[in-house]
């Protein structure tokens, strides 16, 4: 192990202890309960021995011994249940609290982080990694009681017959060693199986979600080929794991029998020679069987602890990520709207921005400047991939520009709190994401407490009311992956209603009507005009009629504003503008 790896491991242990510390008292309680169980459990073979030697062989009182064993049974039973309860409660609590922290952290991390993180990775941090932690914590009380039990039993055995103890205990450390080594070897194998399972899941997921593409091109055989490979991989990895199990498990199961054989052989001769009582032999035997499970479990718990530590390390990678986009230390407030002071002035000043893709020289915006007066509406026109949506993302402060600044009502975005800024800017994204919730809840997303009338009014404005009333449960219909699926145009209209409800001082419509058919778009356009009145609006659109809604149009080209003017001015004067909108005199020009 390299020094660095050691450092990392130490960090993992530190995290593990810090996590456990939070539940110190309950865990200690669990350990105490476990000790009580140990006492009851360890007493049983002693009592049985005495019962056989004094009660049966010497014709003593059977009733007394029987009652004593029963008493030990009650103690062991009660404390076993109690210990189990504490162990599970605490381990689930650890898991639950960690999961909440991860989720909160994920919600706060900047978009740039999410661009790179894979959904599946984040999901497995908060599910399977936490399970590793839980799997260890649940073992702590048992671990403690088992360790004491092993010590207690070994002491008793050595006191009653040191030589026999030495011989019969000889195989036990091997159980422990094998269990540890098994746990180490099986872990990567199990992980490999899971990895393959995840890959298979991915293929199935994509084939099902993209079934139209698959069927459209008759690509079933391609997908089947990919799946077969994964199915084979799963089998191969599972068999590898099975062979590891086959190498260890029977051995671990049978090692203790060697101890039992030794007791029978050696102990038997001692009883024949009169050096040992028969009860003593039975007790010896029972004690040995009592040690089997603890020895295994101790070995595995050590491995579990290591696994939990490395899982926590991975979890901590998320938790320790510092959000690159965060509230200002001393945030400023946005000016309030007043009679003499209209709000919603937006200004981009010499903004340079490129995505973090490992090519610092590739930028999307190259010194873009644009000033929008309060209440003004501006259409941004540009070719595919020119950076229109990027402007939206910068305005929401999903990213910070590499240089230059963006201000809202004179305040630099970086001086505002994120929630102030984002409440002031409402967006309809180009790809609409709806949540797995009712239509009402989706529309009222920005203001959950809002009343139904406002929701319906917004839906009407967005041209969505009509089709919503046709849905099975109207406004209470659940949407999303597990709910009712809407067409692209319908989803966009819900998203527009959602932005209307937000009622922010700046509204951004990013290609918000692309999937709405032209006849319907016509109606929505009128409604949008109402919403836009007196509100600063950025419209990203390709259709002239939508562009014309805005007071002004700007052409985005090469990462800068290449031209400004009304739609008609630009059509008349700007070659590039005409090209982007395909506004040649006749479409045959391109041929």
């Amino acid at each position: 192990m390299t020094n660095e790896a050691k450092g990392v491991t130490r960090e993992g242990w530190r995290l593990l202890f810090a996590t456990l510390k939070l539940q110190q008292r309950a865990l200690i309680m669990g350990a105490c309960v476990g000790l009580a169980w140990t006492l009851g459990k360890v007493a049983v073979p002693q009592l049985t021995k005495l019962a056989i030697d004094r009660g049966i062989e010497k014709n003593g009182s059977l009733l007394l011994w029987t009652m004593l064993i029963l008493a030990a049974a009650v103690i062991a039973g009660v404390f076993a249940g109690w210990r189990r309860y504490i162990a599970f409660r605490e381990s689930r609590l650890t898991e639950t609290m960690l999961r909440e922290r991860i989720f909160a952290q994920i919600q706060g991390l900047h978009v740039g982080y999410h661009d790179k993180a894979q959904t599946g990775q984040l999901m497995s941090r908060s599910s399977s990694d936490l399970q590793q932690v839980q799997g260890f914590v649940v073992n702590i009380p048992i671990f403690v009681s088992q360790i004491t039990m092993v010590i207690g039993v070994v002491v008793i055995l050595f006191f009653s017959d040191p030589i026999l103890a030495a011989v019969s205990l000889f195989p036990l450390p091997f159980i422990n060693i094998s269990a540890r080594s098994f746990s180490h070897k099986i872990h990567p194998a199990v992980m490999a199986v899971q990895q393959e399972q995840a890959q298979l899941a991915n293929i199935v997921e994509e084939s099902v979600s993209g079934i139209r593409v698959v069927k459209g091109f008759g690509a079933e055989a391609v997908q089947q080929g990919k799946l077969n490979i994964e199915a084979d991989d799963i089998r191969r990895e599972s068999m590898r794991a099975a062979r590891i199990r086959s190498r260890f498990l029977p051995a671990i199961d049978l090692l203790p029998s060697l101890g039992l054989v030794a007791v029978l052989g050696l102990g038997g001769h001692r009883v024949i020679n009169g050096d040992m009582s028969l009860g003593g032999l039975v007790a010896f035997n029972t004690y040995l069987t009592m040690l089997i499970w603890p020895m295994r479990n101790i070995g595995m718990t050590v491995a579990f602890a290591q696994r939990a530590a490395s899982a926590l390390l991975r979890v901590n990678e998320i938790l320790s990520e510092v959000p690159a986009i965060a509230d200002a230390v001393e945030p400023r407030k946005l000016p309030q709207a007043g009679l003499a002071q209209p709000v919603g002035a937006v200004s981009f000043d010499n903004v340079v921005f490129g995505y973090d893709i490992g090519h610092a020289d590739i930028t999307v915006l190259n010194g873009l400047s644009l000033t929008i007066a309060p209440g003004e509406s501006v259409a941004i026109v540009g070719a595919t991939g020119s950076g229109k949506s990027t402007i939206t993302r910068l305005l929401l402060r999903f990213y910070d520009p590499q240089s230059g600044s963006i201000t809202l009502d004179g305040v630099d975005l970086r001086d505002l709190t994120l929630s102030d800024l984002r409440r002031a800017v409402g967006v309809v994204f180009e790809d609409t994401l709806l949540f797995n919730d009712t239509v009402s809840a989706n529309i009222a997303f920005a203001k959950p407490e809002i009343n139904q009338e406002i929701v319906i009014r917004a839906a009407k404005l967005a041209g969505a009311h009509e089709f919503i009333m046709q849905l099975p449960q109207q406004y209470d219909t659940v949407l999303g992956e597990r709910g009712f699926s809407l067409s692209g145009g319908q989803r966009q209209r819900i998203a527009i209603a959602r932005a209307i409800v937000a009622d922010s001082r700046v509204l951004v419509l990013d290609d918000a009507t692309s999937a709405v058919d032209p006849t319907k778009e016509h109606e929505i356009r009128d409604a949008l005009a109402t919403v836009m009145r007196g509100r600063t609006t950025l419209v990203i659109a390709h259709r002239p009629a939508t562009i014309e809604l805005a007071d002004r149009a700007v052409l985005l080209d090469n990462g800068v504003i290449a031209a400004v003017g009304t739609h008609h001015e630009l059509l008349a004067t700007n070659e590039k503008y005409r090209e982007v909108l395909a506004a040649w005199s006749s479409p045959q020009v391109v041929e």
Binding site: V44, R92, E100, Q107, M239, L249, L264, V425, P518
Partner: protein
């Protein structure tokens, strides 16, 4: 515990039918055995090994009894030594057979699961679009993952454990009986209580398990939504609300876990108690019998030892029973997919399709499953080889539906679609997909590079073919300008690209294939009109001599078609050239007027 942790209910989707009744279970069992076919011998061998290991496990206490009674008590050292040697032999046999047992059982089980995965997926893909309309994507994925994986735990060790626990109890009972019926009766005293407790526990815990599963599912989807929806959540400053909701679902999950622990707490305590209590009874009552001389001391000792090993199996059986039940439920659902006959069925004796020909739609009527109103009502249209047909009309009129029927993604309830005189129902799917290709309305990108996404259309295309295709569309430079060129990873659903770029990738797939009929379902809505026009023009050149059906919303596209069909209200209202239809002064003329108003032509 030995499984090293499964997926932990990963993508579980909660289902209504978690439990099967007895006859269903039997059917599932018989089906699995039939399907196991080639693995049956390995499985039988594995069973044989299991029986031997169980016998070995039982031999231990028997040998101890023999050693005590005939060796120690009879003071016969030779018998004792023989017993010890026999015990050693048993241990050695158990070890060897134990190893073989793991390998055999797993190779049969994993082979079976592999077969199951492949079969289910094959069958899933054979289904028509109607099937995918009906089933939620998440549920289908869960079938192939959570449902299959719920069986892998069984395959790895559960089934073996179940069998050996069962056999152990079974044999042990007869063994006990053969040693002493009195002591057997005594040890059975606790069993009625134990069985009653196990039944109650089994019932409660399976309810608790279902509850936990449901809560895990809800929690996971809340988590997933929080991750995939993070941009919208942040845009609307809704993080706190979302965190609050997640906490709620998380706490609910915690409570359901707690409930399931509570259900098991008393049971495990009771098992612990019963195990010790029954040896107390054996010692007490058995001792009494020894005094009376009706049983030997060795027998009492053997009973004490045997009973200690019997309580684990009881406990394990009641826990594994749940696992078995849910595995049977999973299998039942998987078989349902395997059994589903695709409603668009491939002909058993396909007629080869000619390389070109007219696509003729004759009097078709089609309604989506579950909707009373037909989406197409007695529609006929002919696409002459090498011409271009545009479908226009209002939302929901049936344009996409007609396009899909022309590619036989669905079969019409009445009427027929034929290509070159051959009914599509009589053609093989392979032929059909080679002749008629559909570029769907939503261009779906797979996780992988731009190149991977293009090659979906034609997996065996060479690099030269690929580049030539992009050249023809005039898109090669565009893609090569991306940071890593064609190797740029597009990320999940293509999130790394701009909306228009995603459509360009989806569209370029069309240039790779060489169909007789190309169906384009308004695949260009996010493109700027300039790019859109360039692409359409390029595609048009590409498709010279081939037939094209285009579902369009733009006048410019429509004008270039040889024939325009106006779909309205599930029917073809008008059909003809642009000029003819304008002259007709009907639907189309109205539509063209709106277009002219909104587009500066």
């Amino acid at each position: 515990m030995w499984s090293g942790g499964g997926r932990g209910g990963g993508r579980s989707v909660v289902d209504e039918d978690e439990k099967l009744d007895r006859s269903q279970t039997r059917v599932v069992l018989i089906r699995s055995i039939k399907m196991a076919g080639e693995f049956r011998r390995t499985a039988a061998l594995a069973m044989f090994y299991v029986v031997i290991t169980v016998l070995c496990a039982l031999a231990g206490p028997v040998l101890v009894r023999h050693g005590i009674d005939s060796g120690i008590n009879a003071k016969d050292a030779r018998v004792l030594n023989m017993t010890v040697i026999a015990y050693l032999v048993v241990v050695a046999v158990a070890y060897v057979i134990g190893r073989l047992q793991y390998v055999a059982l797993n190779s049969a089980g994993e082979g079976f699961l592999r077969l199951l995965r492949i079969r289910v997926f094959t069958q899933m893909q054979r289904q028509s679009m109607a099937f995918f309309d009906r089933e939620k994507a998440g549920v289908l994925v869960a079938r192939m993952t959570a449902d299959v994986e719920s069986m892998s735990e069984l395959v790895q060790w559960g089934l073996m454990q179940f069998l050996s626990s069962f056999l152990l109890l079974f044999f042990a009972f007869f063994l006990l009986l053969s040693m002493s019926w009195q002591l057997t009766l005594i040890s059975l005293i606790v069993f009625p209580f134990l069985i009653a407790a196990s039944v109650k526990f089994q019932r409660d815990s399976s309810r608790a398990y279902l509850e936990v599963r449901e809560k895990v599912g809800a929690n996971l989807s809340a988590l997933q939504e929080g991750i995939t929806g993070v941009r919208v959540i942040q845009a609307y400053a809704r993080e706190d609300e979302q965190i609050r909701r997640f906490k709620e679902s998380n706490r609910e999950l915690f409570r359901s876990h707690l409930y399931s622990v509570k259900v098991s707490t008393w049971y495990f305590g009771l098992i612990e108690f019963a195990g010790i209590a029954s040896s107390a009874l054996i010692v007490g009552l058995g001792g009494f019998l020894v005094h009376r001389g009706s049983v030997s001391l060795g027998t009492v000792v053997a009973f004490v030892l045997l009973l200690a090993t019997l309580f684990d199996p009881v406990q394990q059986l009641s826990q594994l029973y749940n696992t078995l039940q849910s595995a049977a439920a999973s299998l039942h659902k998987l078989f349902a997919i395997i059994d589903a006959e695709p409603d668009v069925e491939e002909s058993t004796h396909p007629t080869p399709l000619p390389s070109t020909g007219n696509l003729v739609v004759e009097n078709i009527t089609f309604a989506y499953a579950g909707s009373a109103k037909p989406a197409l009502d007695n529609v006929s249209v002919t696409l002459t080889a090498g011409t271009r047909l545009a479908l226009v009309g209002p939302t929901g009129a049936g344009k996409s539906t007609l396009a899909k029927l022309m590619a036989r993604l669905y079969d019409p309830q009445e009427g027929s679609v034929s290509f070159g005189g051959i009914n599509l129902r009589d053609a093989s799917m392979e032929d059909l997909r080679g002749r008629i290709v559909v570029i769907p309305q939503e261009g779906f990108l797979f996780d992988g590079s731009v190149r991977d996404n293009l090659l979906i259309a034609k997996p065996d295309a060479t690099e030269a073919e690929l580049l030539a295709a992009l050249d023809r569309l005039g898109l090669r430079e565009r893609f090569e300008a991306l940071p890593e060129g064609l190797n740029t990873e597009v990320r999940e659903r293509g999130s790394r690209l701009s909306a228009g770029e995603r459509q360009l990738v989806a569209l370029s797939r069309a240039a790779l294939v060489d169909p007789a009929v190309l169906v384009l379902d308004e695949a260009t809505s996010n493109l700027d009109p300039g790019t859109e026009m360039l692409i359409e023009a390029a595609l048009e050149r590409l498709m010279v001599g081939r037939s094209v059906i285009v579902v369009a919303h733009r006048l410019s596209t429509v004008q270039r078609a040889d024939k325009i069909a106006v779909v309205a209200d599930a029917q073809i209202a008008e059909i003809g050239t642009h000029d003819e239809l304008v002259a007709l002064n009907g639907h189309y003329a109205l539509l063209a007027a709106t277009w002219n108003k909104t587009q500066p032509h």
